[in-house]
Symmetry: C2
Subunit: 333 residues, 2 copies
DNA sequence: CTGAGTTTTTACAACGATTGACATCGGCTG
DNA sequence: CAGCCGATGTCAATCGTTGTAAAAACTCAG
């Protein structure tokens, strides 16, 4: 059942070279020959041996997507979108769960999967992969999400500051005055950038900034949102709204609020970030920042492929993903 | 920055083959030589070229996981678990979204990704991939989920009939009498097998079987659950409980119930299947069948690797995944 | 110190696809 | 009919790694 190029050639009655030419779209080929070859390929169900091709060409048409964890809905959706976008272009995506930056760095900076991969799309969530920015990674790399210190890499992300500003402003516009933030972080990561937009909105509205309403938590999962919300409820003066830096946190917060017997949005309004599908099905459904994921995926893949194909001297590009604020029940009037 | 075996050899002052021997744990190597080589590898940060190795050995240490869609939480969690299990054994997983069986069959039966892959773990959800069962796929294949007609393949799955029986029986035990089922299907797929357990439980309890309470729907997503639930509520005599054949359907059903202003579980109790993480955070939290996903992943990978390594004459194996019924708020007394 | 036996290391040829330099072979142009 | 051009074929080399088999180096007994 192992079909080789030579088998196809034999069956089509042409030389190996000709078959290879057909496959690689060499211009000067008669329609007749091409048809014969195609037929033989069809009949033998031939697929080129990826290893051999990749060894010879130095290109595999595989790219890697490095994400913290694929079981997280946002990343699962991202993975799906990137895979689709890549498949359209005949590229296969290898998904790598980094589970924390250490392993990721090793992967990215290190052997890069034995040269199999043509390039990498890297989507960190928490800490800043400063060390990535540099080095002779040899392989093209596109960064997703907050851009970190002194990036010299191609980059695709939502304008998190603006989006957070919008989200917070929305809460203000429905009359909330004590607005908490969950998911705050330091450095230049997501948690810091979104906090910036949040604070900016408060300031713009002339609202006081209460540091006890900014919760860092340990991560970006549902349980972190739930426990942060518990902390907020324990305050002498709890908030009347919460802006969670991602939807998972928001879902955790909703859960805590439900357990506490509080009504959302009456007692506390909640806004998230990412627009994962679950959010739409919770009761109340979740108001959230909805980035255009298809656009993101399309651009990220495009950028990477340009870089892979390119002579290398293109300027670094930095794309901003369009988003909308999806107003749902968790903050409805 | 491209480091080859020959570079390492040169630096270590040995032959290329010796370096290869060190890497492949060939037994007869002096400690001194080994150390020299290791040092050179270290110094040059050498990683073997996967393509070349795979071409030569006919093994790539890549396996594929074919799932309908990775954005679906159950499959995302499955993908994560399988990746982890594989990584432990030095294997990389390639995730393939089949999005419907046609493409999947082509992949599985066809070129099998240009011989790059050593084997495949296939997890269909809906229709029966009868055609897969056969042929000269050349590559080992492990099937997850309901076993389909005349399987001759290694297989790992929950005992869906028993689990569905348990789920339904649980609803009966809390006093429900009109129990609906969402996700029913024909053939030998998930929808049919789970219906079997459901009917069996009704029968065992001496409850009448009302066909209007069995809803097929078009898929296994939240929206399907939501619309099916709407249909049920429109019945002259709506159910007092629903067993949904997966958690997404259940979440959709919960949403519809909430929109209808009904209380869960007071008016209608709901049970799901899969135990995806979201279910625990909904209000009410979702009672569900919880398969041991880690076990499943571990076994599936193990089975496949045995098959890949094996001489091929092992008997077909059929493993049953342990599960528990997680009783939560959606069916709490 | 020699020769047998054993260990360690090496040379060489694959694996399958691609590519480049040329050679061929028709058919077409003028 | 010479000369050209387009379409294929031949041949060989290459990508980096590993299996085979044989050479080289070592050990030990006599």
């Amino acid at each position: 059942m192992v079909t080789r190029l030579s088998d196809v050639a034999a069956r089509a009655g042409v030389s190996v070279k000709t078959v290879s030419n057909v496959i690689n779209d060499y211009p000067h080929i008669t329609a007749r020959t091409r048809a014969k070859v195609q037929a033989a390929i069809e009949a033998l169900d031939y697929t080129p041996n990826v290893s051999a091709r990749s060894l010879r060409k130095g290109r595999s048409d595989f790219i890697a997507l490095a994400i913290p964890e694929m079981a997280s809905p946002y990343f699962a959706e991202l993975g799906a979108a990137i895979s689709r976008a890549a498949k359209k272009r005949g590229i296969t995506v290898l998904i790598d769960q980094t589970e924390g930056e250490a392993a990721a760095e090793k992967l990215v900076l290190g052997g890069m999967r034995g040269q199999l991969i043509d390039g990498i799309i890297f989507s960190p969530i928490t800490t800043a992969p400063t060390k990535i920015a540099r080095t002779d990674t040899a392989k093209p790399l596109v960064l997703l999400g907050e851009r970190h210190a002194g990036g010299t890499l191609d980059h695709v992300a939502v304008d998190s500051v603006q989006a957070s500003f919008d989200a917070t402003t929305h809460l203000i516009s429905i009359g909330r005055r004590r607005i908490a933030a969950i998911g705050v972080g330091g450095g230049a990561g997501t948690g810091a950038v979104r906090r910036k937009g949040y604070r900016k909105a408060l300031k713009a509205a002339g609202l006081p900034h209460d540091p006890t309403l900014e919760l860092a938590g340990t991560g970006y999962h549902r349980e972190d949102g739930a426990s942060s919300m518990r902390e907020l409820l324990a305050l002498p003066e709890p908030p009347d709204a919460v802006f969670c830096f991602n939807d998972l946190l928001a879902i955790g917060a909703l859960r805590t609020l439900a357990e506490a017997g509080l009504s959302v949005p009456r007692d506390v309004a909640v806004v998230g970030f990412d627009d994962i599908e679950d959010g739409r099905y919770h009761s109340p459904s979740l108001t959230t920042i909805s980035p255009d994921m298809e656009w993101l995926a399309e651009q990220a893949v495009g950028l990477l492929l340009d870089r892979i194909a390119g002579t290398g001297e293109v300027d670094r590009r930095d794309l901003t993903v369009p988003y909308t604020l999806q107003i749902r029940e968790s903050s409805a009037g």
